[in-house]
């Protein structure tokens, strides 16, 4: 089975994630779309790991690392979203222009 099938699937998921980040206004939904993009990267890593066979085990290891980093990112991201909600009663990313000049 050609490895490019998996690469196209991952490109599809990544593009859908990009669309979500650009088009969504709700901060938690933007975080959800970022998770889609991280998963697309993971599919690539695991597909190449499968292509290389026994030499590809580090690919799976890096997929695990990305899952751990994604968990850390989501935890801090949600904490920031909750803090912003508490201060401004809104999670609209278009209204968060305080640090924009």
């Amino acid at each position: 089975m050609p490895v490019s099938f998996f690469l196209v699937l991952s490109a599809l998921l990544f593009s859908i994630g990009v669309y979500g980040v650009l088009a969504r206004q709700h901060a938690v939904l933007v975080l959800l779309s970022v998770e889609l993009m991280l998963n697309a990267a993971n599919i690539n890593l695991v597909a190449f790991a499968a292509m290389l066979g026994q030499a590809g085990v580090p690919g799976q290891v890096f997929a695990l690392f990305i899952i751990a980093v994604a968990a850390a990112e989501l935890g801090v991201g949600l904490a920031i979203v909750i803090l912003i909600y508490r201060n401004r009663q809104s999670v609209d990313v278009d209204q968060m222009s305080l640090m924009k000049w």
Binding site: M1, A11, V28, N39, N42, I67, A68, L78, V81
Partner: protein
Amino acid sequence: MAEGYQELIFWVLFVGMGFAALRVVTTRNVVHAALWLVGTLLGVASMYVLLYADFVGWVQVLVYVGAMVVLMLFGLMLTRAPIGSANFDNNQRLLAAVCAGILFLVTSVIMIQAFEGQEIDFTKNVGTEVEDIGEVIFSVYVLPFEIVSVLLLAALVGSVVISRRDESRVRD
């Protein structure tokens, strides 16, 4: 397992995951978006199992579907967002769709050209044991592993500090 069998499973997952991911970014209900994301993540986990990465697949189910989606649902509930038919999209939807479409076309054309003829051989690939993964983590990648643990600890402490109510300001 025969080759055609795996290809059939792949295309079923492809269509299902594409639809679920599209629903994540288009649905009008935030809780539905999180639930569609569960579907997408389960599809990704099945894709890992299909690629003989059983351990990564189960980590995906445990960490992503089990923990992170619950965290996201808590985030949605705590921010008391208008759950329902409110408009969550901004007015750049068309531009965003065009950007995403161009990105998809360019990346897939480049990927297909770059890796033409490279096959995943399902017949000789019998999968990796958890033992192999553990051995690689704790011999070659032990430093990144430790850094990831420190990063997780920092994220844990950091998110508690950030989201905690500021008590000193209340007392003043």
